[in-house]
């Protein structure tokens, strides 16, 4: 991709992201005039001379404590999933790979299920119990998959994929068992599994943001190596890439980014699989463009999917995973038909 075109691409994506955050904060289940939203925004940002006395405290809370954190969290989660997805696709050289392929999400889901189970049946509770359990579950799952796949210091792609699938199926069975045992109390588990951004706050943002920031730094720095990986590991070795080290580093980084996102949002499918493919059709396979562009598009996409989730049936909510699939699948088919070319990595 030429430099001028690249600049243009990132400039327009950044502008779109900013516009998305502003618009999505102005839209919601409760109608609040755009002017009021803007004044709440400005006064919260320190412009105390602005007169907000006429605005109900609850309206202010809706904009500042509910909507804005939810929108920002949507950006972070969407970016994390799309970034991790494009990394996994490149690393595993598999177009079907997504952030959940190697068992991160099943690990998180198992952790969350255990947390809900303990909470309902034993009354155990402490703040942020579910995200902490989910994160621990995700880390344990990564640890197991990684060690299962490791053969003499190396982590072959094929064994990694298989180990991921095996651990995922096993953990699904664990979740089902816990749901059966929880009986009447399984509602909470069901809601967590369907994923969503409701009932989240600034705290969750603080939890996800560091992983995304550090993770994207590492992943962007290794974008060139990911490009070389597409030629095959042997070729990469000949070109002077430290194959095993790079593979392990990227694997762990992308898994951690996913784990942090999933622990907070539950299972939101489709973003990590479809966004990288859609972006690749426009940007080409160069990971130096693909990774940051996927992150931006993923963030924008998830925020709009969540706007739909909270407004389509308002004042009722729909799990956002349903929306991502509803918008994502037809959009992807459209791209596929329009481009009329083979999908490649």
């Amino acid at each position: 991709m030429r430099r001028s075109r690249k600049t243009w691409l990132f400039a327009s994506l950044s502008a779109a992201l900013l516009l998305t955050v502003i618009l999505a904060t102005a839209i919601g289940a409760v109608a609040i005039p755009a002017g009021v939203t803007l004044r709440i925004f400005l006064s919260q940002l320190g412009m105390s001379w602005l007169e907000t006395g006429d605005i109900a405290r609850n309206t202010e809370a809706i904009v500042w404590s509910l909507r804005l954190p939810r929108v920002i969290l949507g950006v972070l989660i969407g970016a994390s999933l799309a970034l991790a997805g494009s990394t996994f696709q490149g690393l595993l050289r598999n177009p079907l790979a997504d952030p959940f392929t190697i068992g991160v999400s099943s690990g998180a889901a198992t952790g969350a299920t255990i947390a809900i189970f303990l909470n309902r049946l034993n009354g155990l509770y402490f703040p942020h119990m579910i995200p902490l359990f989910a994160f621990t579950g995700a880390l344990l799952a990564i640890f197991f998959v990684y060690n299962l796949a490791k053969i003499g210091g190396q982590v072959p792609v094929a064994t990694l994929l298989l180990a991921g699938v095996v651990v995922s199926s096993f953990l699904s069975a664990v979740i089902s068992l816990l749901m059966v045992l929880a009986g009447e109390n399984m509602q909470g588990i069901f809601f967590w599994l369907s994923g969503g951004l409701m009932m989240r706050s600034w705290t969750e943002i603080g939890f996800v943001a560091p992983y995304l920031l550090v993770g994207s730094g590492i992943l962007f720095a290794y974008a060139r190596e990911l490009n070389i990986f597409l030629l095959g590991e042997e070729a990469a070795l000949h070109l002077g890439v430290r194959v095993e080290f790079t593979k392990k580093l990227l694997l762990v980084t992308a898994s951690l980014v996913t784990a942090a996102a999933v622990s907070v949002s539950g299972m939101i499918g489709f973003v990590g699989l479809i966004i990288p493919h859609a972006v690749r059709m426009v940007s080409g396979p160069d990971h130096r463009v693909l990774l940051p562009a996927s992150a931006l598009v993923g963030g924008i996409f998830l925020v709009w999917a969540d706007v739909a989730a909270r407004t389509v049936l308002a004042p009722q909510e729909i799990p956002v995973g349903i929306i991502t699939a509803f918008i994502g699948a037809p959009f992807f088919i459209y791209l596929l038909r329009k481009k009329k070319k083979e999908i490649r990595l």
Partner: protein, 311 residues
Amino acid sequence: MKKDRLIAVSMAVLLVVTLLATGCLPGNVAPKDTQNGEAASELYPLTVTDDLGREVTLTAKPERIVSLLPSLTEILFALDEGERVVGVTDWCNYPAAARERAKVGGIVNLNAESILALEPDLIVTGNSDTLTETLSFLAGTGIPYLVVDPQSLEEIELSIAKIAEAVGSSAKGEAIVAELQADRAAMAEKVAAIAEADRPSVFVMIDTGSLFTVGDGEYLAELISSAGGRNIAAGLGSGYFEMSEEKLFELDPEVIIATSPMREQLLAREAWQELQAVKNGRIYDVNGDLVSRPGPRVVLGMEELYGAFFE
């Protein structure tokens, strides 16, 4: 050409087999009731119509009853028929004696073999999604089963009367229903004395991680209004659904009712500090068993709600 025909015939056979197996074609007559015990009194054989509109015929007074819902177990014990209840679910925890009965599984994992092994002559069950499979299984066994699915407080009383009739305790059933009606009337009188403006707006929270709540058309919603509360989710949807958090802030309920212990968690929610129910500490944990089971203790649930609304 020959192969095409083979494929066509195979497809047709598969289709017919599927239709037969799922009972979509005529000829799949439910097996006749094979019970042949002698009538214990002139009441039997007795035919009652259940909440699915099925006619259930009992040849004799049921002596071995299996209950597949906690609410139905409570009804049977309230009717003094606990002696004849031989099987209950893992969740049937009231009255204490019910815990000593044989268990046939939970809500989603009912065990067909344990039900059959108890040789029941009557099974009482509900009509929730989790029981659908069990119902179709029961239909194949020939054991008479009664489906009870009350949607309102009045229907709870009707269902008690119906079960009482089926097990041959109509008199006791009438007494319980009369008592429930009297309690309800007393509550209605108390609530009627409270001005509309003094009745608190209420949000009922059924799950911690989401705003799952109850709208119109469920007895839980009726329970709230009967106890003198104004359900903020009324008119926003029917049945159980998840409400938008923004809407909760807009409607800002005076009272939040939690059906499982979560008062402390909710009071600590950072984003909720602006809600008046949080500011005033008016979040109450109620006994979920009392408000979520359409059985004889539903009036106790109503009184607990009344206590929370007008403490």
